[in-house]
Symmetry: C2
Subunit: 585 residues, 2 copies
């Protein structure tokens, strides 16, 4: 062992002991006759002192040539510091070095290895191994480990069994795009990497393993939006002989345990809200309920006057911004510009100041009177001093726009507190959602989700209104988990595939094994999957998942550190019976 | 919840309670007026009773139509059994059923769902979800979970951090063959699936995360021998600021903990043996030391007579088979045939019976006398009643042959006891091994393994004799883990790549990021990786890894249950800029 202690370990009690430490040179102060070095490792920083009166000459000389990020090993006596540093756990002591070994020198790193670095995102990714030396990144990775250990120990104690499902499976063109893996031993054939272990966990339920979980990598070959990764990690769970209520209780238990164990936060029973209610109250199926600004639907108090914009709108809806009356005209104009940006897409925004003296002043004063505005205030819950922001138009679009505005305002007003946790179950999701592009309904969760009891027949007459036994767990405005009770009846599953446009042949080719399995005594079952990357980020009080992934990929799906993907050798392609057509284009 | 209790839970204390159970119909005894059903789930079996005098008529009628593997839910009263079954934990009670719900019927399963099944391997794999209902398979999966939990909790308590490394990495044609993944977003380029996270764990050490582990899937596109899987699981570990001794102690600790926690077996300090000694004493670098039959090298007591076969041999080597004198002539002839099989490849076998009365009788009596045989016995450790088996020829071949014979005999003699555990460190592996095919030296572990201190210069003069800081952990004749102290100096690594035949350009293209990293203060580091599939099988007292994998692939790399790999759609190939050349052949 290169060390007797770590650099985070020594305290005043160790004074006069001889110790050996190893680590990286964080900082050097060289006064010639005296040199101080901050020695860093994963556990902390310890100050070394080299002193021409007490340190051997050769050691002194080596010390004078050290540079940042050199790896060294030192032996010396622990002494009490003259000027203690109360901000460091090891701040009471320093090491008077008597032996120094240079284990490995270092080039000057391309950015500073400090809590706040001068390195940009690209540089930090290219030298990720140096970025990981920085405390925030390191602590994020350790934090992730703590969360996964807590998840595993909790579920294991509840009799869940972690089962590894295969990574080399079969491509199912439905849903997102698969990554595929050519098979050399089966020429012309391909494996696919799993988008999730969905069918395998259902087969485990058919196999009688009634409580399954797995922390598992999943893969989706999608064009990457910000903060999406082609490979991501799920906490994947499934239970048999359960109803929706059992799943909600079980995983509410898990989440409550994590909040308690990881964050020290006690949360009572999680509120529940139907999808319809969430859309109505927050314009969003994953509302952040840490703060108010709930939607107030204003059709009946706005469509009785001559304001055509509102009169022609399917939905007129507003929120009350707390203290928003203090916004300047310029600030409000900026808000209007903000909602008109193409990413939001609103045509405009009506506002109404609710002054402290109880009077109103609005951008539509010529259409409405004080009584109207008083109604608006009542419905949106506005108090004197607030600002009412109103959008109008197509229901689903205007809800999305106002929801975006609500989140933006909450962020600006500091209402999205990272250390406050507001979980929420959103239930009764629609079974299907309309896809504009293909002009047909698609499964909102996936084709294995069961409709609510008795609603199957609605599929023929009113498909958009069929509700599913599907639920999401929302935390602070992020979907951290989602799942459903599954179909376990072959006939229902066949009907669902049929409805979703699978021919019987396609259904059989892709999911025949699952439908076969349903014939041999499939139990009722359901489950949930959590997005681990996001869950960890949110528990860590942050929202950027990349900061919690050791070696993330960029938005082109590239690992810029190892420079992957890359061309492969012609012999590899030949062995796989493959040709790339790219160079021919 | 579909049940108040599991089928393994109820005891005599529950009598007269009303309970609800759910599960699969394991067995039915229908006497008309009375029907007994064994109800099974993951936790056990509970007997149900339907009795025309006490059970509602409609329930009785449904019960009479049940079949094997039907999924049912029952409510009833717990009653004391008249004839108790002491072999079942629930054998004191039965459930007098008052309500019965058929949750899902079942076709007759293609094989019996019993501990011993009538289903062949192929059928069981195709219907793996039914195979998993069988207790031995289910228990193996639960056992695997217990082992991984024990590993994680032990390492986590030792300050190891589990870090997820990426699955979409870069192909490195050195070593085994990679599975590759075409990149749609980077046309003409490919990711590779990791054969191990080797370079990433080394980068984590450079990144200062000085104790890393990960239980992780790895991939190798090799022609599959029996009991090899294209995807397999490793317990992958790495430590910084350590020497070989630290790694051995740490992971000896882990293994000892597993043996204690999982198997209740206490093992003292693990013995250590150099690679050279293992080859000499057991002909094998992963000797099973649960039993003797150590090799005795007999050159000097066999090459002084006129027996040309021995005189021309590089090595003459024998083992003493305990009690082997009792083998019949026919049994010995069968052994000779066994070693002559092409898989073993010996030219023949000389044997010598050591009778209880101290006399010898051999197949080479005309060349050797009693004094010679007494020497053979002394050297092989034969006792009266044993049989000495002697092979001769090229050293490395004859060692492999005799090692195979030793293992075969031990199996036949019942010396390989599944509940006895004999771990062993094999150390000082050669750095390089000669490859007949390419007529050059290859890295025996991998190109990142460091030579023993001071041996680097031997590379030029006597490469085959360079020893590495490399070690294997052997358990009961199986390599369960292997690792090494790594190179952490850029110049040494460059030299090693050069020696192994990488051009500087190739080394840079494939491993440039690692060599770059070594310039920024790489600490001394080393690690080990355990094959989880095999480790679990051995701890479970078995040797077939497939029985401990939920959804294994067959020897052609196929998942016969889901029928993968399979052809993919033309549009998928087009999007990937790929053409298969197979159909054109």
């Amino acid at each position: 062992m290169y060390r007797t202690h770590t650099n985070g370990q020594l305290r005043i009690e160790a004074v006069s002991n001889t110790v050996t430490l190893a680590g990286w040179v964080q900082k050097i102060r060289d006064k010639g006759f005296m040199i101080w070095v901050d020695l860093r490792d994963r556990y902390g920083i310890t100050q070394l002192i080299f002193d021409e009166e007490r340190t051997p000459k050769a050691v002194m000389e080596t010390a004078s040539k050290l540079g940042r990020e050199f790896v060294i090993q030192v032996t010396g006596k622990v002494i009490e510091r003259e000027s203690k540093n109360p901000n460091m756990p090891t701040g009471d002591i320093e090491i008077l070095v008597s032996e120094l070994t240079l284990l490995n020198p270092s080039l000057t790193p391309p950015f500073t290895i400090e809590e706040e670095t001068d390195g940009g995102e690209d540089l930090r990714m290219k030298f990720r191994y140096l970025d990981i030396r920085r405390k925030p990144v390191r602590e994020n990775l350790i934090f992730r480990h703590k969360v996964t250990m807590a998840v595993r120990n909790y579920l294991s104690a509840q009799n869940f069994v972690e089962v590894e499902t295969p990574y080399l499976i079969k491509s199912t063109p439905e849903g997102a795009r698969d990554f595929v893996v050519p098979s050399r031993m089966n020429p012309g054939q391909f494996y696919a990497l799993p988008q999730s272990p969905q069918t395998f966990k259902q087969l485990l339920m058919v196999g009688g393993l009634d409580k399954y979980f797995q922390i598992v990598k999943c893969f989706r070959d999608e064009d990457l939006r910000a903060d999406r990764q082609p490979e991501f990690t799920q906490i994947d769970c499934e239970m048999a002989f359960v109803e929706q209520e059992d799943i909600l209780n079980t995983f509410e238990g898990l989440t409550r345990h994590l909040l308690k164990e990881i964050n020290g936060v006690t949360v009572e029973k999680f509120p529940r809200m139907t999808f319809d209610e969430a859309m109505k109250r927050f314009g969003n199926d994953k509302p952040d309920i840490r703060f108010g600004m709930e939607f107030g639907e204003l059709n009946h108090v706005t469509q009785h006057k001559d304001f055509n914009v509102f009169n022609q709108a399917e939905l007129v809806v507003g929120i009350a911004v707390p203290g928003g009356n203090s916004f300047t005209r310029k600030e409000i104009d900026q808000l209007i510009d903000w909602v008109k940006r193409p990413q939001i897409g609103a045509m405009g925004m009506v506002y109404c100041r609710f002054a402290e003296d109880g009077t109103f002043k609005s951008s539509v004063d010529k259409f409405y009177d004080e009584a109207d505005f008083a109604e608006w205030a009542k419905i949106t819950g506005a108090q004197p001093g607030d600002l009412i922001c109103v959008l109008s138009g197509n229901t689903s679009k205007v809800r999305a726009q106002l929801s975006a505005l609500r989140m933006e305002l909450a962020t600006r007003l500091g209402l999205r507190k990272p250390n406050e946790f507001a979980p929420l179950w959103v239930v009764d999701f629609p079974l299907l959602e309309w896809d504009e592009e293909t002009q047909r309904y698609h499964a909102m969760h996936h084709p294995f989700t069961s409709p609510k009891p008795g609603q199957l027949k609605l599929l023929e007459t009113d498909p958009g209104n069929v509700k599913a036994n599907a639920y999401d767990l929302v935390l602070n405005g992020n979907e951290i988990g989602g799942g459903s009770i599954r179909i376990h009846d072959k006939k229902v599953q066949a009907k669902m595939f049929d409805y979703l446009g699978f021919s019987p042949e396609e259904a059989k080719a892709q999911f025949g094994f699952l439908m076969d399995a349903f014939q041999y005594g499939a139990p009722p079952h359901g489950g949930i999957a959590f997005g681990l990357d996001r869950l960890v980020a949110i528990l860590g009080g942050q929202e950027t998942i990349r900061d919690f992934i050791a070696f993330p990929k960029n938005n082109s799906g590239r690992d810029v550190m190892i420079d992957a993907p890359a061309a492969i050798h012609q012999e590899q392609l030949d062995e796989l019976n493959l040709k790339t057509t790219h160079s021919e284009n």
